[in-house]
Symmetry: D2
Subunit: 365 residues, 4 copies
């Protein structure tokens, strides 16, 4: 399989490139009876799209979604839902630089090595444009999770360069807090600092990395499978499918390296309504790869944008030394637009495992 | 699918619990013609097994593998290879503690939440014993990668608690260096410190976390798929399938959060024999999710062993407060035995993607 | 998985209904470098579309395909190919009959039983309209098979009601012969009889069944997998995915029931160029589920169209007795339009197994 | 994927050859809580095994199954169930004939063409011995279907050579009727004729084909998926995975070719308890690929055994003319032992689709 499908019971398959006719996703397995229209998809698409604020790329792409199938009289039918997002900006421009040179940090060289050729217009299939339909599919998954399972997913930026804004109670962060600032950091003061830093980087023709945190609350204990399809494994894969992600961690994350067992173990206790909970959540909401009922908390390290307006050294396809400067309009920091993509991927994994566990439980003999 | 299979073209399916009759793996898709016998599997099984040194658990499990199928006249036939590792130590003991109480940090509670019941003997399917057959399958993958593709995989411990032993040239680390010390750290001086720390922790009835680094060298550019089956995504999933892993990162990893694009981008240049390489390897060997030809370097954060001989607070299945102390013999630090497991999972992913790329290339029109 | 994907390495996923916005297919895994444009898809779409001749339904649907992705500068890139066929005829009409009554022989009742509701316009997802994008994908598979593997696939009608037109040399039948007559029977005299019978049935407001035979020639020995993914198993599944198919057989088919081993066994001998062949082809081109190098010959039994203009007894959704007569324009015999659908499904299976065997062989150690 | 797995939610993976150490199946996805022991598997294994009666092969293979995992305190745990059947009769004999010659009707030539070599002892992976573990897995599926869903599966022989024993009410046939005679025909008089014919064929060193019918009763309406995973498609594939099957048909089967729509359509009416049923069952229990609630009825054409004690012409691996006579003990007619294999495959498909529909329904929003 060429790797353009994701999920088992709630399964998405995508196609499309940066400068082709458009991007398509087929969502196979969404249960029947869910109210759904394009209006459910647009908010997250707007959070992902270029040109949404001053600190992201100024390209203008409306990213309007059309539902082609699977919905009848306002409800899903149980048959596959296809969503099409046409590319608007397909005008011909001069791609000779990208065509014959390898941009540092991009997939130009590796695509050529893989396929022998590539669609070099705007990165082709390796463009972040491909994530638009994932966000559309994620919006469907989010709605299913919210309405059927009471699960809420929220992402926010906790670090841009040296500016760190840790969150004490991830499950308490609201969409309003996150959307109050274009950088999508839940701490308004830190958000202002981050914005200033990003603007400075842009003026210096440079870019900056950061960290995003995603929290899923309301997930009951029991989602995830014991061995290869551990929830942490599928979520980890999901995060690493996103461009620019170089690290993923849960709960205490890399911090566990210096911890003792007595420091790290989360003690079980009786919570609200007699429910079994842990007093702390260093485990990040999963034990043995299966959800514990505590909030699922994960963080992604996102590298600084590779495309830079300033000159960088590289080689041509023939291997000769040259320089390249990226002329397009690019994000000086990927984090603000990364948030809806990451939320979408978390939603796709959780919708899938929600269905797998529902299937498993409905069949208990 | 209940999640006990992994891989597409080189695909493993496992079964088995800690105290059942045994563990089994079926390797489906291994090419025909590979010389193979049980002797190829035993070295890695010996590196994984309990009782191998003073700093690991002192349980005695020989972990002897039997190849049941798929090999004829000393060579693989292209049909599935089943490997059986019988459990030796199945004697009945008193499991009443584990049966009725939830061990902190373990999957006891989440298994009950998922299945409504569980095989509580030694953790059942959530036991690390399940990884024995993964290591056997990984040994087959390693041999295929080495003999057919010239790929070498090596893992080593770079951190135990506060003791850090970074490696400058991951691709230069040898198996001999790693196996020279029971802690599997390539720096002998640091290794001694780590061993002392681990022994101290054991005497204090506590445990300690750490970090393992795995390097795959010799991987040509072009392995991995563009979107969902990015090599970094499949490797990331693979690592998170292993017990106790709370973080995974590649190359510069979480360090990218504070980097600028100009600092982070790896410059392409002409290497040995005219091959295109990057001057540095902050990207960790993959760009756009596809291998770049540079060494693949990843790190896993491994939590301290949850099982502790000292008393810990917890609850019973009924939700009542109690305490538990684990009476079995446990590893005071998981890292030494984690290395062969991690190498095995890396090998399974790479063998799969080696085959996928071979398939893709063999079909270029 | 909800069953809208087919194939492993050459994998298609479809979406769409009869009266939604359109039908989409994503072809994942087509190798890079294949010349491809919409012009390659249209001929088979024209062979499948309604209104193509006097003996099929007179609905007018142009079935124009748009390639949305995966092709650059006239060649496939190795990334997924999405094809969209918009539905033209979506005007609102009176569906109250279909909505509240169960058409005999149709999926109305079973869809309701499955999903609790259904898109009743024109059969929704159960409409043969869904096969349009399969034919588009099949055209891509056919081109790959022809250009890369030298495989040719041809289908033709061998029976309509009592009129039987057996073919002695399936591999010798040409597209020209088949397309010479609207009924797609390779025997011109029998074709005329069939056409007359179909026209008579139409005038009697009735329909008629028949048999189609598909032959794939040029398939080398070695395609197919030994156990579950036998070539005959995957082809059999493929045929049964098509509407109205109630039987599938290979070579001597059901005729083997009365044969002795000495009558049925095909003797191996040396053929042209020293190649090993069988003197006869009662086995239909596969032995042990793997292609033998002999032409693959299969036959499908296709039931008479269930939709009839005359009144038929049935029940309402509430289970009350009623009658129904289908007012739309329907095929009095499905066979002529079945041929391109069946060829497409055969092509999808063979392209997949061609790639699987190429992968397997490229990896022989 | 190399094709040794089958099913989505109830998924089996097999390994093993005729003369290796044994055959293994891993059943992944069986729900937790099903009472299960080896005693549940043995009856069907006994119905499949050689040496069970005078009219089958006289090889003695006890086929004793060992459950290695997935069962605890007498119940399934929801984790994978591995079953091992050791091969008893692995003594070395003279295989030089099979090794260097291609047996007509067997997979010897096609395996060599595929893999470049093969395990020639007793047919290796292409041996019917491989079906032993399928029968074991099928017994688990049958128990799940019976206890959880009220589904009963029964197979019987309806034709051996020219002797035809059609069954009017497939759902009424009992296991007792079938097992009353070694030929597994439900009509005692016809059974006697069949036995005589088979004994005659054996004495003539020849073999004979036949037809088996399988009926699944109690399947509710709604199982199966609309497009590629139609129930008839998955059942069709399942049947064609069995050795020697050259044709599969449902309900009226190939008989539909000569039928008119008015003759073939099954009229909906109100049945017992107000349930919607059809007056007749020419559709064989599925409409649009989804179960209709009527009994599922399918028939398989099984070719005469290819192995014959008398001399047959063939070629050597080098392509030179030679003759071969099979010295082993073979079934003069495959049908009696085919019945449990076919029932098992039907059970595997139905268990899978039962779970898929349960999942779908449990999630209706």
């Amino acid at each position: 399989m060429a790797g353009n499908s994701f999920g088992q019971l709630f399964r998405v398959t995508t196609a499309g490139e940066s400068h082709g006719a458009g991007n398509v996703v087929i969502v196979d397995g969404c249960p029947a009876g869910l109210e759904l229209s394009e209006a459910d998809l647009q908010p997250d698409l707007d959070r992902r799209r270029p040109g949404q604020s001053k600190i992201v790329t100024q390209r203008q792409e409306p990213d309007t979604a059309e539902i082609l199938s699977g919905v009848f009289e306002g409800k899903t039918t149980g048959t596959p839902i296809a969503v099409l997002i046409r590319n608007k900006d397909q005008r011909s421009r001069d791609y000779s630089d990208i065509k014959d040179k390898y941009r540092p940090g991009h997939a130009d060289y590796t695509f050529d090595a893989k396929f022998g050729a590539r669609d070099y217009r705007g990165g082709g299939r390796s463009s972040a444009r491909e994530t638009s339909v994932r966000v559309a599919a994620g919006a469907i998954a989010k709605k299913l999770l919210r309405e059927k399972f009471g699960v809420n997913i929220i992402g926010y930026v906790t670090q841009v360069g040296p500016i760190i804004a840790p969150v004490d109670d991830p499950a308490g962060v609201t969409l309003e807090q996150v959307e109050a600032t274009p950088v999508r950091c839940a701490d308004p003061a830190k958000a202002d600092e981050m914005i200033k830093l990003i603007e400075q980087l842009r003026s210096e023709q440079d870019s900056i990395g950061g960290v995003a945190e995603i929290c899923a609350s309301g997930v009951p204990a029991g989602w995830g499978e014991p061995v290869f399809d551990k929830l942490k494994a599928d979520l980890g894969k999901a995060m690493f499918t996103l461009p620019a992600v170089l690290g993923v961690e849960y709960g205490a994350g890399f911090g566990v390296a210096t911890m003792r067992g007595t420091e790290n173990n989360d003690v079980f206790t009786r919570g609200e309504g007699g429910r079994i909970v842990t007093e702390t959540n260093r485990h990040g909401g999963m034990l043995g790869g299966i959800s514990s009922g505590m909030p699922i908390v994960l963080r992604c390290a996102v590298k600084p944008t590779s495309s830079l307006p300033q000159e960088q050294r590289t080689v041509t396809r023939a291997g000769e030394s040259t320089t390249i400067s990226t002329k397009g309009r690019h994000d000086p920091c990927l984090l603000p637009r990364f948030i809806p993509m990451a939320e979408a991927m978390v939603a796709l994994v959780l919708a899938d495992h929600a269905m797998r566990q529902a299937a498993q439980q409905s069949l208990h003999v």
